[in-house]
């Protein structure tokens, strides 16, 4: 008997062994991502119009006065680097939250119209009302929440299906983009440049005042999302299974949606909608970490890495300076198409 069927102890041992392997993989991946982020962050502080040595940069970061470097690194590059990391983390974690909750990689905020709502509101605030700074952020955040509410209400009938929500989101996004286009057509030359930069997603002119609200939002809302990660994982199995596992679906969804939209909106308000970061971070993280366990932390790190390295590339590689949103857009677009091809081919229903 014991020869044909493995004993219970052996099964438990093998399960816990594979669990340990997975856990180790997660730790390794997360550490590598963190190291990469730090490396790119250091590079982003060092290179630019003037190249500074590691020691100069380190002294500036530690608060010492270095001729020239104090201004360039301390005032220009440091806030830019911090902002890149903060918005990258926010986009990554919020994007993967939506994708996990709706069980669809296409359900990221930049596809279902939430970013489009924030953009339209910000364009309106800048061009028509002549606002800037925090006031624009307030508009963007309110609009992001409103659009989410509208999409949710419209798709919520007889068990809101993810696919319907995505299609409705696409429709809403089309409408909001038309509104943005109208606002743009009314803009003067100066405002137009401001709005276009903003709409592409750019870290240009990053300052501490811009970074602070996004950072606070991340510190408050990030932990909220992390505390719900087990519920979110259960929801990947489907709503029935999740509620059988003791997840309160409606409440979890409400908390998670508000937190994720808040993150998206604050980050969008700071830098504009950086194309495809929220969408890409989740699938990339899933590929590296493997299908088990929560994706929130790896996706957040991938998001930060994408924004940081996109900005370094946009600033330094070509002789023209491109905003980060263009770099992520051009890299992300083919991946989006590839993802659709792969999903269709494997015959999964999206």
């Amino acid at each position: 008997m014991t020869a044909t069927a493995p004993s219970l102890d052996a099964v438990i041992a093998s399960v816990s062994r594979s669990k340990a392997v997975r856990a180790r993989r997660r730790v390794v991946v997360i550490s590598i991502l963190a190291v990469l982020i730090m490396a790119v962050a250091a590079i982003s502080l060092m290179i630019g119009n003037t190249v500074y040595s590691v020691t100069d940069v380190a002294r500036v970061v530690l608060g010492q006065d270095v001729d020239g470097a104090s201004f360039t690194v301390g005032r220009l590059r440091l806030p830019r680097m911090v902002l890149a990391i903060v918005v990258g983390l926010s986009f990554g974690i919020a994007g993967v939250t939506f994708q996990t909750m709706l069980r669809n990689p296409l359900a990221s905020p930049d596809i279902i119209g939430i970013s489009a709502g924030a953009s339209a509101a910000a364009a309106f605030a800048i061009v028509v009302l002549g606002l800037s700074g925090t006031a624009v952020s307030v508009f963007a955040i309110t609009a992001g929440l409103l659009v989410t509410l509208v999409i949710y209400v419209l798709s919520h009938q007889a068990g809101s299906a993810g696919t319907r929500l995505i299609l409705i989101g696409i429709g809403i996004a089309a409408m909001l983009e038309a509104a943005t286009q109208y606002v743009l057509s009314q803009a003067g030359q100066w405002e137009l440049q401001a709005v276009l930069r903003w709409l592409t997603g750019s870290l240009n002119g990053a300052s501490w005042e811009q970074t602070l609200p996004a950072l606070i939002a991340l510190l408050v809302l990030g932990p909220v999302l992390l505390s719900r990660r087990h519920d979110l994982d259960a929801m990947r199995l489907g709503e029935d299974a999740a509620s059988a596992l003791g997840v309160r679906i409606e409440r979890t969804r409400l908390v998670v949606v508000i937190a994720a939209v808040g993150l998206i909106a604050f980050a969008t308000a700071a830098t504009g909608p950086i194309a495809f970061v929220a969408f890409l971070a989740g699938p990339i993280a899933a590929r590296i970490v493997g299908p088990h366990g929560s994706l929130l932390v790896p996706a957040a790190l991938v998001g930060a890495l994408l924004v940081l390295s996109g900005d370094v590339v946009g600033q330094n590689v070509l002789n023209l300076r491109y905003p980060v949103g263009i770099v992520t857009g051009v890299l992300g677009a083919p991946y989006l198409v590839y993802l659709i091809i792969r999903t269709n081919r494997s015959g999964e229903s999206l």
Partner: protein, 347 residues
């Protein structure tokens, strides 16, 4: 007699409509479009009298009012032909893909034309209307084939959901290339942006004339494939059984639609949702027979674009809102309504 026939028609929701009812609707539609076209000539930031309109149509530009009418005439004609092209193209696409969400905007065909034109403007000094037409048509064709190919991979072929997602993804992808190309080029970003919004404001007789052959071929090909599209509607197996060469029919009809959208997009910019909304409305009125549906969609499409243009001039007086914006704001809710009404399994 008529009444009984109408009730009969109502009983069968998607059945045949009696010829008399269809003819009646067709007549009404043509009359409404004529009325809208007249309104488009009369309404604007400057009021004109009937006498001025008549004089201007006769070619006179003696006073300001007559000159205003002379400016509005080509604009109205352009709105009519663009609307006709987009309405007809939408109906053909929905027939070819057997997909209720098919629309040149949603399937990424407009964006394909846009990217091709932006590339042409940025790197090849594209500036003539004929150049725009060829480039846009090629771009639209490539995008259409690409989206259809992606959407029909895997099990179940080109379902509405897969096609719509493939189209939306391709659109997003192409749009980010458009931004990447045009944003750093201050010299062309103005041209690109005003073209991308989609409008009929800058219309002239010459560009309409250059667009005419493309449209004529497109209309002809589309209308001639109407009977074949009816067989396709029965499903591929049945159509093949009836002796239809399904692939050829699809390719020919799609070519007609691509010519129509490419030409319309080249001259007026990407105008979304006309091709989606119009065939749905028309199906309610004249039924699903493509021999009626296609011409009717063309007429109603012309009406919709002219009406949107007039509306755009009224709501923002004395300025104006471009047609592409009005149609998106009117059309998106219809798209959402269609998505909401259908069962998920059929999406």
């Amino acid at each position: 007699m008529t009444r009984a026939a109408t009730e009969n028609a109502r009983g069968v929701v998607v059945g045949r409509r009696p010829a008399r009812v269809r003819l009646l609707w067709f007549g009404i539609a043509v009359a409404v479009v004529a009325l809208l076209a007249f309104a488009s000539v009369v309404i604007g930031s400057r009021d004109v009298s009937i006498a001025d309109v008549v004089a201007a149509i006769g070619g006179s530009v003696d006073n300001t009012s007559e000159a205003a009418v002379a400016k509005r005439l080509p604009r109205t004609v352009l709105a009519l032909v663009v609307g006709l092209a987009l309405g007809l193209a939408g109906a053909v696409m929905q027939g070819v893909t057997r997909n209720p969400l098919a629309d040149p905007g949603i399937l990424g065909v407009n964006m394909g034309a846009s990217l091709a034109i932006v590339v042409g403007i940025a790197w090849f000094g594209l500036s003539t209307a004929t150049g725009y037409l060829w480039v846009a048509t090629v771009g639209a064709g490539v995008a259409a084939v690409f989206v259809y190919a992606i959407g029909s991979l895997g099990r179940g072929g080109a379902t509405p959901l897969k096609l719509a997602l493939a189209g939306a993804a391709t659109s997003a992808a192409l749009a980010s290339f458009v931004t990447a190309i045009s944003l750093p080029r201050g010299d062309i970003s103005g041209t690109v942006r005003s073209w991308l919004i989609g409008g009929v404001g800058g219309a002239g007789w010459t560009s309409i004339g250059q667009m005419a052959p493309f449209l004529a071929v497109g209309v002809l090909v589309s209308l001639l494939s109407a009977r074949r599209l009816n067989s396709l509607a029965l499903g591929d197996e049945l159509a093949t059984g009836l002796g239809e060469r399904v692939a050829v029919t699809r390719a020919v009809a799609a070519l007609g639609a691509v010519l129509l959208c490419g030409a319309a997009t080249a001259i007026a910019g990407p105008i979304a949702f006309v091709g989606l909304v119009v065939p749905h409305a028309c199906r309610l009125l004249v039924g699903v027979d493509h021999r009626w549906l296609l011409p009717f969609s063309g007429v109603v499409g012309a009406g919709l674009v002219v009406a949107s243009d007039v509306l755009g001039r009224i709501v923002a007086r004395p300025g104006e809102v471009d047609v592409g914006i009005i149609t998106a704001i009117l059309g998106a809710p219809v798209f959402i309504a269609i998505v909401r009404r259908r069962k998920v399994s059929s999406l």
